[in-house]
Each structure stands twice: as C-alpha cells, then as structure tokens.
Symmetry: C2
Subunit: 188 residues, 2 copies
DNA sequence: GTCTATATGTCGATAGAC
DNA sequence: GTCTATCGACATATAGAC
C-alpha cells in the first residue's frame, strides 16, 4: 500500500536518476504519477524539497548502518565485511535513491547541502577508522588509507548501475564475490 | 597558447562537471570566458554540440589506448596493469572531461548518444576479453568476469573525484598503489 | 568575431475554483 | 486534494548591426 506522497517520491527518484535533477520538471513527475504539476505542491514544498527528502533519507540509512557496525565488537576485517554487506543491501532496496548520491547531491541547496556533506564526511571518517584499525591489527596491508577507502567506496557507489542491469544475480553470491574481490584481489 | 574555441570548450567542461549539463546555461559558459552567450554560436552549433565534442573526444582517447594495449603481445596481467595506467593518465590529463563520462553522458542526443554507447560497450567487451584471457592463463582467480570488470572500472571511473582533492599525490605512486589494491586486494 | 535585441519556448511556483 | 489559468524568470537560439 503506497500513499500518494510515496508515489510522488518514488517517481521523482526514478526520473531524477534517469534524466538528472535539473532536466526533470515538476510536470514530468506529475505526469508519471497521473496528476497535474500543481497538485504536487499539496504534498511537497517544491522540487528542491523532493530532492532533500530523498537524499537525507538515504544518508540517514547509511548513518544508522555505520553506527550499528561501529558499536559492535567485531574485528576490523569483519566490520569491513559488514560494511560491504550494508552497501549491497541498501543498493538493492533503494536503487533509485542511491543513484542520486552518486550524481545529483550537488543540486542540494543550503542548509541541507551542508548537512548532507557533513554526514558524508563523518561516514568516510568512520570508514577510515575501521581501515586503520585493520592495518594496526595486521589484517590489512600497509596501503595508503585514502586509496583503500577510495577503492572500496567507489566500487560500492557504482554498484547501483551494475545491479540495474543484473537484477537476477543472487544477492548473497554478489556480496560474497565483491567482498572477496575487494579484500583479496583478483590475482591468484 | 589556447584558441578561443579551446577556451570555450574547457570552460564548458569545467561548468558541466560542477553544475551538470542541464543546469549550465550558455550565459554561464560565456561569462566564464568573458564574452556574451550569442558569441559562442560562432564556434559551436549549440550547447549539445559542446557536450558531444567533449565526450566523443575522450571516448576516442580510450579507444586508442585500448587498441594499443590489445595489439601488444603482453601477458593478460601486464595488459591489465597498462589499462589501469591508461585510466590514471587520462584522468590526470583530462579530469573535467572524464567527469562527464561518469555523470553527463546521458544528456547526449541521438545519433551521437548511440555512437557513444557503442564505443563504451566495445571498450567493456575488450576489457572483459583481457580478464578472461587472464583467467584462462591462470593469472586471475575464477570470479565472475562481470564482477571483476565492474570492480575495476568503477574504481577507475571515480578516480577523478579523488584526484581533484589530492592533486599533490605522486602519479606513479598512485598508479602503483591502485594497481596493487585492485590486483592483490587489501588483506594481508 | 562579438555585440544588442528579440523570438519562442519551458520552467517552478502560486491563486483560486471546485 | 486536484484542477485550470497564469505570472515572471530564464532558457536556447537567431537576425542583423558594427
């Protein structure tokens, strides 16, 4: 059961992803839902409000997932596996909204833009702490932390493009192979 | 020495990257160059023409790089290293245009859109052939070829965001660490 | 080759009827 | 809660003077 407000949100997410935020008009979104553009303003304050709703929601899901992993007492290598699983799960469940993280967050306006960037920076800092703990404990090699973070996050952030073309792929198997690729590499 | 036409192109690339294609106006580009919007039309047919010029140019650079690597008689593992080096080099030399590959190619219009996608698909097919040759020769593990391709390409395609924040990083060292991360993983 | 002026269209958002 | 009608801003692109 999806309310009209939810209908508008998911149509907006799909269109922002496909055509980009700026190239998507309120008329486009309204048509996709089967109403007129003016009617959207009974549910949202405007186009920017829609983008902010979508992006803050997904940002908070990542925040929550990271908090749970950090507060666990698992060793760094297993925390890393949990992080990869978190990205895979959120991507599968919120593919359209995730896509906006990659390409449309720049269209946020202040003060939400600042809020969003702060959340993202904190997330990356937490990620780096786990990598460094893994190096200290001798689980990870001594690569530059920034480069390790970048390699993993970039792969995770593109997962949504890949997954849209391979929906049939088993989620558990995907998670397993990605984790192994990232942690152990592709060379024999 | 940069001609006026080149000035316009690089201003467009920088603005398309920063604000997105749709949100960038001809007035924005003109102002950045120090002329009026109408003057751009003496150098380019329109905004779409600018995007096509930028994207086809960078696509052809990848095509050329891949052709050189493929025609070499190096073993697959070394071809892979050359491919990573190709991405690093093109990213450092054409950061703005490379960014458009990640987020703005969707705004291309046919027939150039079809041409661009065809070039990209061919590039990915060539990449997969090298991965599969590497598996056959026993250099690479038996992961799903699609997943290996995706892991590597996604990291390469996000390099431009990372590099803009770490311009001081030594290019040779960057190449070495990225190659090692991708091929051998981060686990000890 | 750059300018001013302008044609033509679409945008986000609002007012007010029902 | 959805509609019609509309406003004002800004978009791409063109015509023609200099």
């Amino acid at each position: 059961m999806q309310s009209r407000k939810e209908e508008i949100k998911s149509a907006a997410a799909r269109l922002f992803r496909k055509k980009g935020y700026s190239a998507t008009s309120m008329r486009d979104i309204a048509t996709a839902v089967g109403i007129k553009a003016a009617s959207i303003y009974n549910h949202f304050k405007g186009k920017q409000d829609l983008l902010q709703d979508l992006l803050l929601n997904i940002a908070h899901l990542f925040e929550k997932g990271m908090a749970e992993i950090e507060s666990s007492s698992l060793p760094p290598a297993e925390k890393m596996e949990k992080l990869i699983a978190l990205h895979v799960r959120l991507t599968v469940e919120h593919a359209d909204a995730i896509a906006l993280i990659a390409g449309e967050w720049m269209h946020l306006k202040d003060p939400v833009l600042t809020e969003y960037v702060t959340i993202r920076n904190t997330y990356e800092q937490d990620f780096k702490s786990i990598i460094e703990a893994g190096k200290t404990d001798g689980y990870f090699k001594d690569h530059d932390t920034e480069i390790i973070l970048f390699s993993i996050l970039s792969t995770m952030r593109w997962l949504y493009t890949w997954y849209s073309r391979h929906k049939s792929y088993n989620q558990v198997e995907l998670e397993k192979q990605m984790t192994d690729c990232l942690l152990n590499g592709i060379k024999k």
